[in-house]
């Protein structure tokens, strides 16, 4: 009975049913916007060019100096930072060609015989949002020439020294568009007599002077800015600070390191150091008339390879009654 009723209901349902025109709203919508592509960084943009450094000395002008029969080609700079970066492209010898010839905004220049000057090519960069962008190339001249003595008279008497300064870009190394041409300046030095240089003779302009190494000396002080002392008295049991100090031409230079190479006091803070002093303490009272000699080996920032010696003699004393 139940089966019959179910079959009858199914038959009725199938007979009265029809096709529905269904509408799928989702089907008609356009495809959603694809997710925005993440900005892919330029693989080359933030690659720091090899040898890049921050510019602290900026190109000012090309300088040509004549002294007697010798003409020197050089470049002047000013110690300032323009927020740019640079790297060395390469050195080039006199007369040699370079792949960067003609690319420098200040040119390369040539000797009187037509050969190109020796020097160094630098490439300048500015840091932008997309990375280090090259902006210009500059050539730093470093050359000289001497005319044949047969065709040039002796520089004395009547020799003159002249300097020519030409600056295609006087403001900064990069970019050349920001630079302004500068006129050439030719200062004339007075004519000098052929006087040999002897000790005590004032140095005159144009006189070639060999570079002189600074006179280095070292000493030991009892204060960070105190004078260096050959000897000192200390009280037994007191902590005393010994400051190794170094001077180049009597000007204080930073200490790179120091090392105590002599016998040690009873207590020391360290046997070597750099910026910190040696703190020492004598606990035992030495024999009468016995003095301690503290010797240091010091290296400085001015001459890291130079090993300086400093010494101070110490007399240990203690408060005592007098009869």
């Amino acid at each position: 009975m139940i089966r019959r009723l179910a079959a009858f209901a199914m038959a009725i349902t199938l007979m009265t049913g029809g096709f529905a025109s269904a509408w799928d709203p989702v089907e008609q919508e356009p495809e959603p916007f694809p997710p925005p592509d993440a900005p892919t960084p330029d693989p080359d943009a933030f690659i720091i060019p090899a040898g890049l450094y921050y510019v602290t000395d900026t190109y000012v002008a090309d300088v040509t100096t004549s002294y007697g029969a010798t003409t020197t080609y050089s470049t002047t700079t000013v110690h300032e930072s323009t927020g740019t970066y640079a790297r060395v492209l390469g050195n080039v010898d006199t007369g040699a060609s370079s792949a960067f010839d003609g690319m420098a905004f200040n040119g390369r220049g040539a000797l009187t015989d037509g050969r190109a000057l020796a020097g160094t090519y630098y490439e300048n960069f500015v840091l932008t949002a997309s990375g280090y962008v090259p902006v210009s190339i500059v050539f730093f001249r470093d050359d000289s020439e001497t005319r044949r003595s047969a065709s040039v008279p002796s520089p004395w008497p009547g020799a003159t020294a002249a300097t020519t300064i030409s600056a295609p870009g006087t403001t900064a190394v990069p970019p050349p568009a920001l630079t302004t041409p500068a006129p050439s300046v030719v200062p004339q030095f007075p004519t000098m007599p052929p006087t040999p240089i002897v000790p005590g003779t004032p140095i005159v302009p144009g006189t070639p002077i060999a570079p002189v190494d600074p006179v280095l000396r070292a000493g030991v002080a009892l204060a960070p800015d105190g004078p260096t002392l050959p000897s000192a008295e200390v009280l037994r049991g007191r902590s005393i600070q010994f400051w190794p100090r170094a001077f180049a031409n009597d000007v204080v230079v930073p200490i790179r390191s120091w090392r105590l190479v002599s016998v040690w006091p009873d207590q020391i803070s360290a046997s070597s150091g750099s910026l910190e002093p040696l703190t020492a303490q004598w606990i035992r009272m030495p024999e009468p008339d016995v003095r301690w000699s503290l010797r240091f080996e010091i290296t400085t920032e001015a001459a890291p390879r130079a090993l300086l010696e400093a010494q101070i003699t110490v007399t240990v004393r203690s408060p005592a009654l007098i009869d």
Partner: protein, 159 residues
């Protein structure tokens, strides 16, 4: 010993007893005075040593030589008073008064000669001379001064 001898001994004792008491009292008082004087001298010695132990660090950094601090005399006077405090009951004045009246001199440069004592100092020296009044009741009982003043001297230097 006979009965006559016993009477003689009693009479002798009666006669000599006051003399014995005087001698005994004087000896005891001298002993006490000597002990007090020793403690006062120690107080002065320690005060000078403490003062000499405080050196002028600036001068040491400049020249490498020990030199008495500018307030060495003040420090010596202060510590002298502190050191006397343990002996205060035996003193006729307060330790502060005694220290205040002390003659304290510094000789920062060497060699130098103390104009008061004529002593030559080969090192920077601090010298203290003080007159210390000490109570002596035993002497007072013997009709002697009730206060005895002792003068002490102390000097110290880094050697």
């Amino acid at each position: 010993m006979t009965g006559d001898d016993g009477g003689t001994a009693a009479a002798t004792t009666v006669v000599m007893l006051p003399l014995l008491l005087v001698v005994l009292t004087g000896a005891l008082e001298l002993g006490v005075l000597r002990a007090v004087a020793s403690r006062v001298v120690s107080a002065a010695d320690l005060a000078t040593i403490v003062a000499v132990n405080d050196q002028d660090h600036g001068e040491l950094a400049r020249t490498g030589t020990l030199r008495l601090a500018a307030d060495a005399a003040v420090a010596a006077r202060e510590y002298f008073a502190r050191n006397l405090s343990s002996t205060a009951p035996a003193l006729a004045l307060s330790p502060a008064d005694i220290a205040a009246s002390a003659d304290i001199a510094t000789f920062p440069a060497a060699p130098s000669v103390d104009p008061r004592t004529g002593v030559r100092y080969d090192h920077p020296t601090l010298r203290l001379i003080a007159s210390v009044p000490v109570r002596t009741p035993g002497f007072a009982a013997l009709l002697m001064p009730a206060v005895t003043t002792i003068t002490i001297r102390a000097a110290s230097s880094p050697r």
